[in-house]
Subunit: 276 residues, 2 copies
């Protein structure tokens, strides 16, 4: 946990940052958020994160109290004050406190917390990970809301089954993970869903990287059957980066090892990040 | 707002009751809750509320830190200390703080807040209310979770259209309101949905009252068309009680006045509540 946070226009000790039990973010799940990481101490893919936070808030009728420029300036100060080598930046905007606990009063709660970046164990990237599937059409998937109730409900089962992520499926299609996007590799090209999902910032970054690598990319629905027969698969997220997937439920993907295309993307991302 | 609340085993000043920004109830919508009211200072339909809270928590893998008996004792103390004539009792259990903001640590946050009971304006019960419909299949409808994101998102529109409630529909069926259950009256009998909804405590209470009044009751799906042609309609909730509905979107229900069967139920409920 960082030492200094930002709450409604003020820099405060993180220990003093508390939320009212009357906040609609808590009582009614009325909140959107963003998680960003730094590379070389700088917020990574800042503009993409800002735009998505802005759009998520707008879709939910929530107002952001800062402009993009002000947000960047606040982050700069926070990163300096907290002084981690690399940071995770958590930004949350909620419907704020409500006298009757139901009607939004238009007084949004806006806070930013900085944390020391924790990454997944290196083994995950070298050996690949397992994911489990769950039939689950998400509500308002294009908004990064705080509704992770299904992921939470199944988190114990996920851990018991040794899986790193829950992959949501709907009507025979593989959509997205609870906190990450899905890519599969087929005949050297990439396929990733586009509809009915949250368009991750790292997803968009990987698409750009793949274009630079001259890989073919299709943005379209992925039938579960196609996923299970894919040559390779990986999932992307801002904090987890690019996670090779070698097992889906009880089916091995490809040879069950990190494949060459996934490896090439991981390498290209690392080169990009190092020089960020 | 009451003066004394209960948080994780301790009675505390309500002003000091705050929630960590790391609480999974806030960050990941991992929380269930209950709202109960008193009649003559006593928690109304206590056992029904307790059972539903217990079941909601269980379905989400959350543990309640009190037994039914302990919960009753805590409420008795809280009601005495806060001293309102009639109270609203809000009980919330969340996944608690999590170091990584995602994995439940099994340290639930449990709090109870007492508020001075606020009821709807008397006109609503005398003249009836308007509701608007919205196609929306709820996620895990049988759990009283804090996920009201759709209701929140549409709350401004609801208020603008002069409606008291959003009635969720799905595939041509009228299901339930965002915070209340639906009943219609047809040829003197009651019809109320049973599947795909939250089984409200007041819903169950009204069914019992109707049986005492020798009214016929069907628990089954209600096509929207049937609702719009109903003789009467009303919606039930613990804090709002029985709200006559005389307008759905732009369609008047029956003659657009509070009907005789709704009136009979309201009267029977009032007699029951007075002697509680």
């Amino acid at each position: 946990m960082g030492m200094v946070s930002y709450l409604n226009g003020t820099f405060i000790d993180t220990g003093n940052l508390t939320i009212s039990p009357y906040d609609l973010g808590l009582l009614r799940g009325y909140a959107v958020f963003d998680i960003m990481r730094t590379h070389n101490g700088k917020p990574f893919l800042f503009s993409g994160h800002w735009k998505r936070l802005y759009n998520s808030a707008k879709q939910f009728g929530l107002k952001l109290p800062v402009s993009e420029k002000e947000f960047a300036a606040v982050l700069k100060t926070l990163l300096r004050l907290n002084g981690f080598r690399e940071s995770m930046i958590k930004t949350v905007v909620t419907g704020g406190p409500s006298a009757d606990g139901f009607s939004p009063a238009g007084k949004e709660t806006f806070f930013i917390i900085i944390e020391d970046l924790k990454t997944l164990p290196q083994d995950v990237y070298l050996l690949g990970a397992k994911v489990i599937t769950l039939e689950h059409p998400r509500e308002c998937p294009s908004v990064k809301s705080t509704n992770y109730m299904t992921a939470m409900k199944h988190s114990r089962e996920r851990m018991k089954r040794g899986a790193i992520e829950i992959l949501y499926t709907c009507g025979g299609k593989a959509l997205e993970g609870s906190v990450s996007n899905l890519f599969i590799v087929k005949r050297g090209g990439l396929i990733t869903p586009k509809e009915g999902i949250l368009l991750g910032i790292t997803r968009n970054f990987v698409i750009k990287l793949a274009r630079k690598l001259k890989l073919q990319i299709e943005e379209r629905a992925i039938p579960i059957k196609e996923l299970l027969k894919a040559d390779e698969a990986f999932m992307t997220s801002s904090t987890r980066n690019i996670v090779p997937v070698v097992m889906v439920d009880r089916t091995r993907i490809g040879p069950g090892k990190v494949g060459p295309v996934t490896k090439a993307i991981l390498d290209a991302a690392e080169r990009y990040n190092e020089s960020y």
